[in-house]
């Protein structure tokens, strides 16, 4: 795309965001598989549109708002721990979306796991990749790897340390394996230094990783940045991208 009309030093007008300007075989494959599935009656185009709209509407922001509200409103926290699916409606998240009875893999059972100064929760699904999607959006790629799923149940402190989270032995680490129909989300301890913060301020430090339990919220930390980086010159045939650091321990 030409940017000839754009001022060189970044003026007031915004150039169109760049796009990948080629049609890849992967894009073609996705459309082709979907069209054949629809023609074979496996689902309808309308079903697909509805689920796509839903998939694009979810993300970890809902979970962040939920935690911030629980931190500032003790009565809400009590309702949340009592019946999380019901409490979610108070922040506009309906677990019955988009079908009226939830999605195929997000059963309408949610439990919020409350951390304390001596208890730390972390979630996993050893069976596949069950995840509280209505609140946290799509699971990160590492959550789905066999590496995380196999090792978190057995060596949780080792895995947490790889995320940069080292907890003292007196803190009980409790792994929650969501292998059936409950979905889980961690309610972390509100960190010091956030007194008098608004819900909006608080929500900013409650990142996705804090609600999975592989990180702790703290003032100034507003993004999940993992210590491992993509190799600049990866060895040919080596494990790819951000998973490399995790996968290497397999």
């Amino acid at each position: 795309m030409s940017h000839a009309h754009t001022p060189g030093n970044g003026g007031a007008d915004h150039p169109a965001a760049p796009m990948v300007e080629e049609i890849t075989d992967f894009e073609v494959l996705e459309i082709a598989v979907r069209e054949l599935a629809i023609e074979h009656g496996l689902f309808t185009a309308e079903d697909h549109r509805r689920f796509t709209e839903w998939a694009e509407s979810i993300g970890p922001a809902a979970g962040s708002r939920l935690v911030a509200k629980a931190w500032t409103d003790p009565a809400f926290k009590a309702r949340l721990l009592e019946d999380a699916v019901k409490a979610c409606k108070e922040i506009g998240i309906d677990w019955a979306e988009p079908t009226g009875f939830g999605t195929p893999s997000d059963y309408m059972n949610l439990r919020v796991l409350e951390d304390t100064p001596t208890l730390h929760h972390v979630i996993v699904c050893t069976l596949c990749s069950c995840y509280p999607r209505p609140l946290l959006g799509m699971s990160p790629e590492w959550y789905r790897t066999t590496n995380y799923r196999r090792r978190l149940v057995r060596w949780p402190r080792q895995v947490l340390a790889e995320f940069g989270l080292i907890l003292p032995p007196e803190v009980e680490v409790r792994v929650e394996d969501s292998n059936q129909k409950c979905r889980f989300m961690v309610l972390p301890v509100r960190p010091e230094g956030t007194e008098n913060w608004t819900e909006e301020q608080l929500a900013e430090i409650v990142t996705r990783d804090c609600m999975i339990g592989v990180a702790l919220p703290r003032p100034g930390r507003t993004a999940d940045v993992h210590p491992m980086h993509k190799a600049r010159r990866p060895v040919k045939g080596q494990a790819h991208s951000g998973e490399a650091a995790h996968e290497s321990k397999k």
């Binding site: 079908t99 009226g100 009875f101 939830g102 999605t103 195929p104 059963y107 309408m108 059972n109 439990r111 050893t126 069976l127 149940v153 057995r154 949780p156 402190r157 032995p169 007196e170 803190v171 009980e172 680490v173 409790r174 792994v175 929650e176 394996d177 969501s178 292998n179 059936q180 129909k181 409950c182």
Partner: protein, 108 residues
């Protein structure tokens, strides 16, 4: 698993829950007849009921698209040391869910 129709838990109750919070239970080591969500690593291990969650169709039926039997589900808490003898931290725990048929009472 296919959720082309609403879940069954709005149906009448499967009966009274056999276990209550705090009860000690052992995960049974039943054969896998085609399908189970009960992981091998908890089989035969003693844990404690941490929560009585909901009633739903058992996975063994649901996987085959049968209307299925309703059963009480529980969250069971295990000491990591009971799951993995070499586990080095005394306090650490693990919780996982189980339908009632996979649990048996432990006396004392």
């Amino acid at each position: 698993m296919p959720r082309s129709k609403p879940p069954e838990k709005s149906q009448p109750s499967a009966g009274k829950a056999r276990f209550k919070v705090g009860d000690r239970v052992r995960v049974r080591d039943l054969p896998n007849l085609f399908y189970s969500r009960t992981q091998m690593y908890v089989r035969g291990i003693v844990g404690t009921i941490a929560a009585c969650t909901y009633q739903d169709v058992i996975p063994e039926d649901e996987a085959f698209n049968r209307d299925g039997r309703l059963e009480q589900y529980y969250i069971v808490r295990f000491r990591q040391k009971d799951l993995w003898p070499e586990y080095p931290f005394d306090n650490d725990t693990l919780q996982t869910e189980s339908p009632e048929r996979w649990l048996e009472p432990v006396d004392g």
